[in-house]
């Protein structure tokens, strides 16, 4: 299974490295989406609205929401993409069984998704001037 994880990780990393425009496109699109939400909220709340420290909370919430959405949708999106490109049957011919393979694929894909989230966070921190500070310990499950 470790070998399977490694080849899946390598596969998603190669896709990312060979097609950087897709990565940049995702960063730009999601950053614009956040800004539209952010500016839209300010427009609705009126010119006197001041988000103050809530910008950081909004940003952290947006990033987590996007990561969760990506993790959930990547499986169904991946399956429909495999069906379209004609590799689905080959994936299902694995002796590990399709469900374990797809779970390993999702786990391995988390690495590239975290990289995407990190890039979006950097762009948005620069644009909005917000600052996020947290200790690495908060990543450990309690």
């Amino acid at each position: 299974m470790l070998d399977l994880f490694w080849v899946e990780f390598k596969r998603s990393w190669l896709n990312l490295r060979r097609y950087p425009s897709e990565f940049v496109g995702a960063v730009v699109t999601l950053s614009i989406l956040f800004l539209l939400l952010f500016l839209g909220a300010r427009f609705l709340a009126g010119p006197s609205a001041e988000f103050g420290e809530r910008t950081e909370a909004l940003l952290a919430g947006f990033l987590l929401w996007t990561l969760t959405l990506f993790s959930y949708s990547s499986l169904s999106f991946g399956l429909s993409e495999e069906a379209q490109t004609g590799t689905l049957e080959q994936v299902f011919l694995t002796p590990y069984g399709p469900i374990p393979l797809l779970l390993v694929r999702n786990l391995a894909g988390l690495g590239t998704q975290l990289l995407l989230m990190g890039s979006i966070a950097l762009v948005l921190l620069l644009i909005t001037g917000a600052r996020l500070s947290f200790t690495p310990c908060c990543c450990y499950p309690s």
Partner: protein
């Protein structure tokens, strides 16, 4: 000889449509079985059931004695090149695809890397090992698909239209590879609409239509059976009409100088006696080809 593949009494229904009915197939090591049929006959449904991709409503499949529907590790014995599918990832190189699918089929990473190198050498793709699949020609992609199917040393290969869309040279190379694999002892189930390819490669054939197997047997025996009692009688010059009219009664057909005789050996000798002293060029038993057999079987059904 132990069967590599043993499928018995397969049934599959999609709503009211009976796709496959009472299909049984078996394959021994080194055998090439051509599984033929018109579009919509049930070939792909059968293949998907054999590969564990589709559950049969009734019947069972055994790959080296194991049921792929209950024990996924039975799939270690199976490699497949499926028609209409890319079978490989276009964004990865030939070598990366081989290693990925090798590991996905149960090999360790180091073993898959070694095996990928061997396969690339066998397929003559070493120079293209670092080329992304989308930049390879169709023939190379097809060879790579075959390589992916062979990565984990399967005993059974399911090849769905392996030469479709290939140029003559590439198709002949793939044919030679299939022959070589059969010589190595792989059992191969080949589905194709290219009947001349099937005739050249298959040691046995099965024809399916409307979900039922209409004909199964050794290729040479089937061809012999369908050739029947026909002889080609070729003369140096055509017979005059009055002479031909008298010989028609003995079973001679066609317009000269090449005629066909329908009948048994005894009747042929009577005809030859009657032809005397007209100069003969050739007398031979008429041969049939798989296309003719296929059309007769499917047409009769």
């Amino acid at each position: 000889m132990t069967a590599v593949l043993e499928a018995t009494g397969l049934h599959k229904r999609f709503g009211k449509l009976v796709a496959v009915e009472e299909v049984s197939l078996h394959l021994a090591p080194g055998e090439v079985l051509a599984f033929l049929g018109p579009n919509g006959a049930g070939k792909t449904t059968t293949i998907k059931m054999l590969a564990g991709l589709l559950f049969p409503d009734q019947g069972q499949v055994r790959l080296m004695g194991k049921d792929p529907h209950r024990d996924p590790w039975a799939l270690r014995h199976l490699g497949a090149v499926l028609e209409g599918n890319r079978n490989v990832y276009w964004r990865m190189t030939a070598q990366e695809n081989l290693v990925y699918f090798g590991v996905a089929r149960g090999l360790r990473f180091a073993e898959a890397s070694r095996r990928a190198q061997n396969i690339l050498e066998q397929l003559g793709l070493v120079e293209k090992s670092r080329t992304e699949v989308r930049h390879l020609s169709r023939g190379m992609q097809q060879k790579l698909s075959l390589g992916v199917a062979l990565m984990h040393h399967p005993e059974l290969l399911l090849l769905d239209e392996p030469t479709l869309g290939l140029d003559v040279e590439s198709a002949l190379r793939v044919e030679e590879m299939v022959r070589g694999l059969a010589r190595e002892g792989k059992a191969i189930l080949l589905t194709t609409h290219q009947l001349e390819v099937a005739q050249r490669l298959a040691s046995r054939l099965a024809i399916i239509q409307r979900g039922k197997i209409l004909l199964e047997g050794r290729t040479t025996e089937v061809l012999g059976r369908f050739a029947g009692e026909h002889y080609v009688v070729e003369l140096e010059t055509p017979l005059p009409p009055e002479r031909l009219a008298s010989l028609r009664a003995l079973g001679l057909e066609g317009e000269g100088p090449s005629y066909v005789y329908h009948g048994d050996g005894e009747g042929l000798w009577r005809l030859l006696e009657a032809l005397k002293p007209w100069p003969l060029k050739k007398v031979a038993r008429a041969e049939t080809d798989l296309l003719e057999v296929f059309l007769k079987v499917v047409g009769r059904a």
